[in-house]
Symmetry: C2
Subunit: 399 residues, 2 copies
Amino acid sequence: MPEISSRGLNMPPSPIRKLVPFADAAKKKGRTIYHLNIGQPDIETPQIALNAVKNNKLDYIAYSHSAGIESYRKKLAEYYHRYNIDVDHNEILVTTGGSEAIIFAFLSCLDPGMEVIVPEPFYANYNGFAVMAGIKIRPITSVIETGFALPPVENFEKLITGKTGAILINNPNNPTGYMYSRKELEKLRDIIKKHDLYLFADEVYKEFCYDGEEFVSTMHLKGIEQNVVVMDSISKRYSACGVRIGALITKNKDVINTALKFAQARLSPPTYGQICGEAAVETPQDYFDGVMTEYVERRNLVVDSLNKLPGVICPRPKGAFYVAAKLPIDDSDQFCKWLLEEFEYQNQTVMLAPMGGFYSTPGLGKNEVRIGYVLNVEALKKAMKCLEEALKTYPGKTN
Amino acid sequence: MPEISSRGLNMPPSPIRKLVPFADAAKKKGRTIYHLNIGQPDIETPQIALNAVKNNKLDYIAYSHSAGIESYRKKLAEYYHRYNIDVDHNEILVTTGGSEAIIFAFLSCLDPGMEVIVPEPFYANYNGFAVMAGIKIRPITSVIETGFALPPVENFEKLITGKTGAILINNPNNPTGYMYSRKELEKLRDIIKKHDLYLFADEVYKEFCYDGEEFVSTMHLKGIEQNVVVMDSISKRYSACGVRIGALITKNKDVINTALKFAQARLSPPTYGQICGEAAVETPQDYFDGVMTEYVERRNLVVDSLNKLPGVICPRPKGAFYVAAKLPIDDSDQFCKWLLEEFEYQNQTVMLAPMGGFYSTPGLGKNEVRIGYVLNVEALKKAMKCLEEALKTYPGKTN
């Protein structure tokens, strides 16, 4: 029997999926599980987007342009203009989800063996994309005590070597919800400029900014226009994760032309998803207003509930729909497993994501969890009550 | 400005796309172009598949299982059973087009630097996927004089070294239309078994077999069940290229579990496409009967027309919807460009794919073209007339 490749063996399993068998077992026992472990919002996709697919008149589903349907790219350019992001449709490549935008950026800009500096904790699938592209992630630790603010510039400088090709940020951040300020982004810009690195920016949560905080895109930063590559997705924006439509955006013509060659090899992004995405650009503002109101209420409920619990620390982030919380426990892997295997409160329990998998430095995040506020307020209240009860009885509690 | 990666620079441009600017210029002159250069059929997608998408009742488009929607995989297993391919749904991973199945197979089974032996001419995008995965394609030449039959076993043996990880075949073949016989496949099986290699089989054209010829899948071969990885797609089968749904199928649990890790990183294949694909499994037989009748008529028209022309050789292939033809010309790149730039017959011309790009060995295919019979009979007749006239006046003709 032939062997599996070493990159196949090195592919990290998803930090969430290893809990799935325990969740399945709990479900079999008839237990209600509040799924706060995922990034799949329960919000409805805008009607205008759903209807565009339902009402499509295609007789056969042809390949689109490899860079995406031109009319969609033109609509997307209009959409970015609303954010004062100055791009035209030739600077946009429609991808199969944000995932493919990340892979194309890695493949186009970095050679195997090169390194990307990423503030940790970070979206765990970056590890998988790094393995696929044969590159290395060098983590730079941000800490819960500062709410996961940008680590000091000196820490970046220490990691930069001849192998460094890029810095990758996710803003607003999954798993922490942290949103970088203009000042922080300008510090990053200075490092990028000084060392002439790529700045990869995963900005898929830019619609999810709270408390009147202004979202600053890396494409707003002056002087590094040729260095910035933005990865976007419509998954979160329109609650349309399954359509698999994202985008790679850059002013750098060499990068977009190179990414296009990778895009041509895989022929085209999904046609139905593009129809959905193109219509979604016209989603009325009241849709987003409703979503924002809902998420702020959810966030406040979760953060307030958590901070009331003894020994729990939970910053109140300004973006995305996650919070990171430090719990008075020995090991969040064990705790999250225990929640599914052993615990129940009125035949209910809660599924959380242990934070260890979001750190690259071994041992970090051991007493932290990520909580996605992707359920309605009533469900979240019950989930928080479960967590409160669980922390009273968990055998590995530390306070 | 930071540099482009060397793999980005090495990414081969599509052999077809370099002609696109000339086609655009011809269109601007008001010229009718018969596009025989592409693999995008003009056949309608089955109504049952189109309607499933139109009538979907989803309120929000969630991620599916990373391996694909379970009910779809179960349907797919039923579909393969009709071909006496013995798989269950856990041996099927739904991918984003056949393209992703190829990439996942390369990444899961081969380390960077390893080699895959591929009979040439072959589907040109294999080159791109090889660059993405950092592997090398070692071509083994098949020739038009034998109708592109499997090259002698000795030729394979000569190429096999410690670096060889797999043999990749495309059956029925793009660009030649050639379909391997059971005897040829058994020869391949013996090589695979002897050297314990992977056998990657791109079987996306298996619905397109003519003249009563039996399609033999690599999954029918006894004794190499753990070596075979099939890449499939619904693009051609249901004329649904744009839905981007394919599949990786293997009895090898290590391979499917490894591919699943890559699949989890990109979250899920497109939901709408899976809805389309699941419904398409129930496409009535008369749809395929109609398609087969149509394609046989088209193939015969093209092959007969070509063989009537002085100095042209065109085998009559038994599969897919392409023919490869040897023309009495100096250089097919030049000829195909000339057809668009200089030639016209009653204000019409024809766009063909030069075969050079489908060979890996430099210099081969120089007087060959690929013709996709993806237009209706009336259009094909006009296109063949154009080609006849063109061969009379082309300055680089050799007879």
